[in-house]
């Protein structure tokens, strides 16, 4: 058994792990540069290092335990996540209009971030048991139900942005689960109706964001302020950037959320287009490797787990980067491994661990019998 373990861990993909850690290191530098002026004690920077350390431990845990064990306990994890979300609905404190944080003393975390992982595991387990290339209506309905329950609870917080991040799981289920054209047609109708209905029940601040997105110059000091300031930061960085710690937009507080949702704008300002391309390149490399893991996975469950987690990464990166320059509306979606934040940093490191887990155990010999 010990020998089996050693054989398994000898398969650990250090390229992939290394890419992830380089991205996290870039994130730390950016957080430092964005906050040292406002926060001379470097409290935010040090906290991020703490989150990374905790996340690293969680990642190791996600990596050592065979992912099939996670499949076995998937219903418990999923159930735990649902209970935490229900707890929030009953007792959550309102923070910035939404009820998405659990406070334990001075410590707080967002259960919805962990729910992303639990839902991905639950969905992968579902596909592990579902061996046909195409789903019928009943299977498709079950897969959608796994996603819809947490999404519904998060929408009630109401955290529109986080609920939207579950969308990639729907795409994975449809694209990789295999569905017939009739289901496609039905889905399109349902999504269109939900979209129209959704807009009518949105909170005013959510509507404002969408309207502002359509026309950010309408009110430069108002709701479009963030996007305008982000574009000024990015554009003024030019090709080479203003240099490390030299950005003025973030330092003088013109750019709100400059260490969280809008950290990519700080990157654009200080490191320029070159920095942007490098970071996008690192992400693309990470995704490429992860997709290779999915292809080589030894079973459907592993492949689906990897794909679900990649889908989260791709979706977060795309939404976050696109909103920096006003291609998409402003949402509170963090940039994986770079944005400041405990729950999201831990969640993405756990995802990295699970993907490595799938890759390490791609050979049949060490799997539990």
């Amino acid at each position: 058994m010990a020998r089996d373990n050693i054989r398994t861990f000898s398969k650990l993909d250090f390229n992939f792990l290394g890419t992830a850690l380089v991205i996290a290191a870039v994130g730390c530098l950016l957080i430092y540069s964005a906050t040292y002026f406002d926060d001379p004690g470097l409290g935010i920077f040090k906290k991020q290092l703490l989150w990374l350390a905790i996340g690293f431990v969680l990642m190791l845990f996600c990596l050592f335990v065979d992912y099939h064990v996670f499949f076995d306990i998937a219903p418990f994890l999923y159930g735990l996540g649902i209970i935490l979300l229900l707890y929030l609905m009953a007792f959550g404190r309102l923070t910035a209009n939404v009820r998405s944080w659990i406070h334990i003393g001075s410590f707080q975390f967002q259960p919805s971030e962990f729910m992303k992982i639990f839902t991905a595991i639950m969905l992968a387990k579902f596909f592990d048991n579902h061996e046909r290339a195409y789903m019928d209506f009943k299977s498709f309905f079950r897969a959608m139900l796994i996603i819809a329950i947490p999404v519904g609870l998060i929408l009630m917080q109401p955290d529109f942005g986080t609920a939207a991040t579950f969308f990639p799981l729907v795409a994975v289920a449809m694209f990789f689960g295999g569905i017939r054209w009739r289901i496609w047609a039905a889905m399109i109708v349902v999504v269109a109706l939900l979209g129209l209905g959704g807009f009518s029940i949105m909170k005013p601040y959510q509507k404002d964001r969408i309207i502002t997105f359509l026309n950010p110059d309408r009110d430069p000091l108002g709701k479009g302020y963030q996007v305008t300031q982000a574009k000024i930061a990015i554009g003024s960085g030019g090709i080479h950037g203003k240099g490390f710690r030299q950005g003025t937009q973030a330092k003088l507080d013109f750019l709100p959320a400059h260490h969280t949702d809008f950290i990519f704008a700080t990157l654009g300002e200080e490191w320029g287009f070159i920095g942007v391309v490098i970071v996008l390149g690192l992400y693309l490399f990470l995704i490429f490797q992860a997709l290779t893991f999915a292809k080589k996975a030894r079973d459907r469950g592993g492949a689906f787990l990897a794909i679900c987690l990649i889908a989260f990464f791709v979706f977060h990166i795309f939404i976050n980067v696109a909103m920096q320059i006003g291609v998409l509306p402003t949402t509170g979606i963090p940039l994986p491994l770079i944005s400041y934040g405990g729950s999201s940093t831990m969640m993405f490191l756990m995802a990295i661990g699970l993907m490595l887990n799938v890759d390490m155990r791609r050979f049949g010999a060490t799997s539990p019998a």
Partner: protein
């Protein structure tokens, strides 16, 4: 364990398709960044430099508070100097010289004459303010302080002496309870009013609080360009927003009456309250609560000790006794008893009872204050001499619930909805009150105490004034108000005046015969020999009123109040109106532990009537005993303000008592 087999190709194909889709998305994102950072870089570089704008708030001038004539300004704004600290400038200096922070704290402590911990506390408090905005450090600098700070401008460039407008109450303690004061916003205020910022000042009590939305105005802003080292360059003029001054508020308060009443309390060192109001419209002409405080001391940012000093004062300085002080009405309540008895037919104008000095009711012996007794008395004379036995009998005939009904009708037991904060409703006991609030049975003998205004019955001086006003004007209960007019002066100089309309809360149907008899009794109190209120008599003016002397502790036997220690001394009341026919002013005076209503409270009423009716004809030496003058007063030539526009008596929703 499920090794997947049948759809390996299916998955591989789709994973490859996904990879290419992601590559396309990334190329698209990189292309978008190229447009912003490569093609449009120059445009955004310029914007970034021009956009290094910082907002400097230009505070709005707070509206004035004036008396009813507009001649006397009771609250204005005085030029003063504040000190603020710019952290954007301070940061790089502290980076270069870590000792700088200690130096600046020591310097400020020295110049301002406060301990260094206090300076640290102000730094700490400023952390809630965004870094781009300066934090307030001190207010009201004197000239030597301004000079020492400016002499050190090179050493401490982050310090700015800012000319500001400081709230000032020129008459200091005058009408302090009514005017209220201002103070710094709290977290609670910020949550309620979206337009406020950390560090703003706003009304905290009284008119300053209730009419804050009018008085406050709207802050303006200037946008200044800064370089990346935090140095100020030039103003970006197109974005400038001019401040809009607050509206001026004209009180219904008559300056002379208010001052005279306050002097009376100050000279006699009396604790208590006085209210003068116009029974024709509910305007409050004077409202005094003694002792007083100085709102100039409250209306500052950095006065942590003031609250403690004032809150610990044994005489409860901050209490507005006129609307928050709850007292037994004593014999003043006999006016209500007479009205109830006559209206309900429990007595008629000729019903008389024999007073021997005491009497037995419901098995207990009750004493009249006059141990020798008043003999046979009917209602008008019972009011005149304030015979307790007569009203014990009326109370016994009416029963508590009919008494309570009339007390409620005549404004007791509920707030009057005056446009001031913190008004208290008082208590009107009834059988239902005993059952619901006290979970007990009401004993008929308690009714006897209530009949002379004692027992659980408690009222505010304002309620007594409202009761008198309703009797004076024949049954109309107005909503009392202290603000007469709001004056909006727009930036182009256009003046828009909103008159506060008088508001009738309800009308009480009082039988004309009953009304006439009660008024006659009240007239006798002041104008006939042997009446208890002779000290308020003005020849010819026909002041009508009722005295009250409230026992503070239960006494067994007849005790003279003069011999008692202060805290056991009786409370003194005098509630009145004048002239008897066509009344134009109600005056209620209450002196806590004052002794006798007729001796200690009535003289102030006399002073106020003299002042008012002389002033009405613009003649300080007016002979009030001249029949012609009195004829004019009787006809009510005092001008009632024309009502240009109707406005609510208080900003909607700002009165925490509304809806009770």
């Amino acid at each position: 364990m499920r090794v997947y087999r049948d759809d390996q190709k299916f998955l591989t194909f789709r994973i490859n398709a996904l990879l290419w889709a992601i590559v396309v998305v990334f190329v698209f994102l990189a292309g978008s960044f190229w447009v912003v950072q490569g093609v449009q870089a120059e445009k955004y570089r310029n914007l970034s430099e021009a956009n290094a704008l910082r907002e400097i708030v230009t505070p709005a001038k707070r509206g004035l508070i004036l008396d009813r004539s507009g001649q006397k300004i009771l609250a204005d704004n005085q030029p003063a100097y504040s000190l603020s600290l710019d952290r954007v400038v301070m940061r790089p200096i502290v980076k270069g010289d870590p000792a700088h922070r200690v130096k600046i704290v020591a310097f400020l402590a020295h110049v301002l004459g406060v301990p260094p911990q206090e300076i640290e506390a102000r730094f700490e408090k400023g952390k809630a303010i965004p870094i781009a905005r300066p934090i307030p450090i001190a207010e009201d600098l004197n000239m030597p302080q301004v000079a020492s700070i400016q002499a050190q401008a090179v050493a401490f460039p982050e310090l700015n002496v800012v000319p500001v407008q400081r709230r000032n109450y020129p008459y200091a303690t005058m009408a302090a309870h009514l005017m209220g004061f201002i103070g710094e916003v709290t977290e609670k205020d910020l949550a309620r009013h979206k337009e406020l910022k950390q560090g703003d000042l706003l009304g905290k009590r009284g008119v300053e609080l209730m009419y804050d939305e009018y008085l406050r105005g709207r802050d303006g802003a200037q946008y200044w360009e800064y370089d990346s080292h935090g140095r100020r360059l030039a103003e970006y003029r197109p974005a400038r927003k001019d401040p809009v001054a607050g509206d001026n508020v004209y009180l219904t308060i008559d300056f002379d009456l208010q001052r005279r009443a306050e002097q009376y309390f100050a000279e006699n060192e009396f604790v208590g309250a006085a209210v003068a109001l116009d029974p024709r419209n509910g305007e409050v002409l004077a409202m005094v609560s003694s002792p007083v405080f100085n709102p100039n001391v409250y209306s500052k940012r950095f006065t942590p000790d003031v609250w403690r000093t004032i809150a610990s004062n044994p005489f409860k300085v901050e209490l507005n006794r006129a609307i928050q002080g709850l007292y037994s009405p004593g014999s003043v309540f006999k006016a209500v008893m007479a009205m109830a008895g006559l209206s309900e037919g429990a007595i008629d104008t000729s019903t008389s009872f024999y007073c021997s000095g005491s009497g037995v009711f419901f098995g207990r012996r009750f004493r009249c204050y006059n141990k020798n007794g008043h003999g046979d008395v009917s209602v008008a004379n019972a009011l005149k001499v304030s015979c307790d036995i007569f009203f014990f009998n009326v109370g016994a005939r009416l029963g508590i619930d009919r008494i309570a009904e009339y007390a409620h009708k005549l404004t007791f037991g509920e707030i009057s909805r005056i446009d001031l904060d913190g008004e208290k409703p008082g208590i009107v006991p009834s059988t239902q009150w005993a059952a619901v609030k006290q979970h007990r049975k009401w004993y008929p003998s308690e009714t006897i105490s209530v009949a002379i205004g004692q027992g659980p019955l408690i009222v505010t001086p304002l309620q007594v004034a409202n009761m008198m006003a309703a009797i004076a004007n024949g049954g109309t209960v107005y909503r009392p108000h202290v603000v007469k007019m709001i004056e909006k002066v727009s930036p182009d100089g256009k003046v828009d005046r909103l008159q506060v309309a008088s508001e009738v809360l309800h009308k009480v149907t009082l039988a004309p015969k009953a009304l006439e008899t009660v008024k006659l009794g009240l007239w006798k109190v002041v104008n006939e020999e042997g009446g208890t209120g002779g000290n308020a008599r003005i020849e010819g003016l026909n002041v009508s009123g009722k005295t009250g002397t409230v026992q503070v502790i239960a006494q067994h036997g007849w005790v003279k109040t003069e011999g008692l220690p202060y805290k056991y001394k009786d409370h003194a009341w005098f509630a009145s109106f004048a002239p008897k026919d066509n009344p134009q002013m109600v005056v209620v005076v209450f002196v806590e532990h004052g002794g006798h209503g007729g001796v200690d409270a009535a003289p102030l009423a006399k002073l106020l009537y003299e002042s008012r009716f002389r002033q009405q004809f613009n003649d300080a030496n007016l002979d009030l005993s001249n029949p012609d003058t009195l004829e004019a007063i009787k006809e009510g030539q005092a001008p009632i303000p024309g009502q240009v526009k109707k406005a609510p008596a208080a900003p909607a929703g700002s009165n925490p008592n509304l809806g009770h």
